[in-house]
Symmetry: C2
Subunit: 422 residues, 2 copies
């Protein structure tokens, strides 16, 4: 392994400039939802050049749209093709999926960006732009790991399936479509922005919307009404208590360092229409974390019970129950045991390359790994070079050294997992 | 007085059908903001027919727009003329302003209306439509009071100034313009929807906007951020405490029956953009009640102090103070003593017509009376036939019997206040 390490690092270093230019070209494609075609074209042609069989298609159809795990704000995906490349192994080895998404969240307030949000600029060893860290940098690391092995003349025994998917940011419809199309493997790596932490367990999450009811009145006689804003305070507190109960139960050491392993976040509040009127409706929107081994339906039921319990605190809620809706995005949780051979391989090659033991944690957010693990019978581990804190933020960037370090770990892991012809 | 009572009632009864038709024609003009020209034309021609000198003009100009009491969401009032009619007295009597607004709030959700919002339909003694109760019914009562006296051959000694104004619903720019144009009197009656309660004191109110700051983060690691939604709970509670302190001080018996004499109502809340993100900003909008004898600047200062006090409860607010803005509408408070001769006259004639003592209260909301009292040196009393609970609500209506009863009280009060030629 030590020999391979040196060879792989050398090869990656030799191709470094080309690889950085490739990543720049990907980042400069502003692949926000609905506009992924450009970057997918670049990925597909790179895969074809490398000898992958390339499958590029626009997903859709009844099976997808009516699938219980399908969530997306849209039902037509024109302009947003999925791309899967398959590199056949020589046989007798274990197959692997390398799964990464190319959709990026919008840049947000552009005045907070110090450069064009899709510049792809490189400065001080960092490559800048929306999507650099979440997660085109990770995708590149996975791809150049395969390329380095190819250039070194390695023939892997197991198949390598490179999945360049859309729709991760809105709940995973892209990866769901690859599964329905039949893609699965013995295991998967998802190079999300874990900042080189290995995450065998991923928290799931799902969005909810609450409607808190009040009764309108003139603000000057507000005591004749019931303020939905005041009532929503009680709802926020009840959800805080629910979050505490749920997290007190979590003893998994992979969550030991996280202050709140599976947070419930209320991200949006909106209610009332007129300063001088009592608000008769407040809408709350949030995301509920789901533990890696938890069933989403159980988490939903617990939320329902917490809201039903409000009537014991305030009789208003008995006659005016809070309405609960599960809507929008949802990420399926997933868990792979530390004893799994891909975990063992990844931990060993990490130590080989980095000279230190990896940090093993559970992810604080959902990824497409959950779908692979739960639905495709393909145990998925999340591990990538992106900087966790910079995803979704202005001035997103990635450290290029980490990308190449990660690529080396991937390459050695592929050797170990897929096997290779001597 | 008893003789006059019978004569006036008889005259009002004789003209009742015509009066109802006049009110219908006013209500059928959908005089929401910007569309008051139609009803003002009807009012102006009626005033002219009755022998008033009619002044109809579109307000504007630097003096108005830069006046410290000017508030309006607009600066051009094309399509929204003010109308003032002056009926000169024979001399030697006290003058009076009868001030009512013709602007109405929008109908809102029309599906909640059982008939066209501007139908003017009469059924079971009630006249239906937006503005019937707030406050075209009151305006009609004031006008037919004068008309009845005219038809009875009465010549009042004092001038009667009938003001049909715009913009009351957004803070009183219409009445402000009449004052700047020079209209004032020895006292004023404002026939707002007090449901026959006499209100010598009016609460003022003013709108505020608060910005509560947080710090964004991914919802899955929400502990890395600071939720502006959670922080806004503390702000709502601090404002509740401020409201309590302010109301505990109020000992005026005119407020004895109101659970909260001068409420602070938070009517609008809005914050956060994404269910999976920690909200970094919440906006709150509300109205602060101002006691009749209180200076608005003192109330503002008290709000500022309460917000500044938040940093003692939570150090977050020391570095991220809540932003306070006074914006939008504002109604000046006003107070007339019970000993004022117009109060005495009104109370006496009320008892004469109704056979019972009037209920005297302070108004729970602002009216244009505050501007007249404070700025025009014209003590204003608010008293009218409209049904308080129906203003601004679907299926607004007014009881016609009350309109005519109120008109009789006005007529007798005019006799008493302005004096008349024997």
């Amino acid at each position: 392994m030590a020999v391979w390490k040196e060879k792989v690092k050398e090869q990656l270093e030799k191709d470094r400039d080309n690889s950085v230019r490739l990543l720049q070209s990907w980042v400069r494609e502003a692949s926000v939802q609905g506009q992924e075609a450009g970057v997918q074209e670049l990925v597909a042609s790179k895969l074809a050049e490398m000898g992958f069989e390339v499958d590029k298609w626009v997903m859709g159809g009844e099976e997808l749209l009516s699938h219980p795990y399908f969530v997306s704000p849209r039902t037509s995906f024109e302009g947003s093709p999925n791309v899967v490349g398959v590199l056949r192994g020589t046989g007798g080895g274990r197959s692997i999926i390398l799964n990464g998404h190319v959709d990026v969240v919008p840049p947000g307030d552009e005045t907070q960006w110090e450069r064009d949000p899709f510049s792809g600029d490189v400065e001080d060893g960092k490559l800048y732009g929306r999507g650099a860290t979440d997660m085109k940098g990770g995708n590149l690391a996975a791809l150049i790991a395969v390329e380095a092995l190819q250039k070194l003349g390695v023939k892997l025994k197991g198949d390598v399936i490179f999945e360049s998917v859309v729709e991760e940011e809105s709940g995973g419809a892209g990866t769901l479509a690859t599964i329905l199309r039949g893609y699965k493997a013995d295991a998967a790596l998802v190079p999300e922005l874990t900042q080189m932490k290995i995450m065998p367990k991923q928290q799931g999450s799902m969005w909810f919307r609450l409607k808190v009811i009040g009764r309108s009145a003139h603000g000057g006689t507000r005591y004749e009404g019931v303020s939905a804003i005041e009532k929503s305070l009680a709802v926020v507190q009840a959800i805080g208590a629910l979050e505490k109960r749920r997290n007190d139960r979590i003893t998994d050491p992979l969550y030991a360092k996280l202050p709140i392993p599976i947070p419930i976040n209320i991200g949006v509040i909106e209610g009332g229409k007129w300063p001088s009127s009592v608000a008769d409706l407040v809408k709350l929107e949030g995301r509920m974390g789901v533990a890696p081994e938890e069933e989403m339906e159980d988490a939903k039921r617990e939320m329902e019970e917490a809201l039903a319990g409000l009537s014991a605190i305030d009789p208003w809620f008995a006659d005016h129950p809070v309405e609960l809706e599960w809507y929008g995005a949802r990420w399926v949780p997933g868990a792979v045991e530390e004893e799994h051979p891909l975990m063992q391989a990844l931990m060993a090659t990490f130590e080989e390359v980095k000279g230190e033991k990896p940090v093993i944690e559970a992810s604080p957010w959902g990824t497409d790994g959950g779908l692979l693990t739960k639905l495709a019978d393909t145990p998925a581990i999340v591990f990538g070079p992106g900087i966790t804190q910079l995803g979704h933020y202005p001035n997103e960037c990635i450290e290029l050294d980490t990308v190449f370090e990660c690529a080396a770990i991937y390459a050695l892991t592929l050797l170990e997992w897929c096997g290779y012809e001597e």
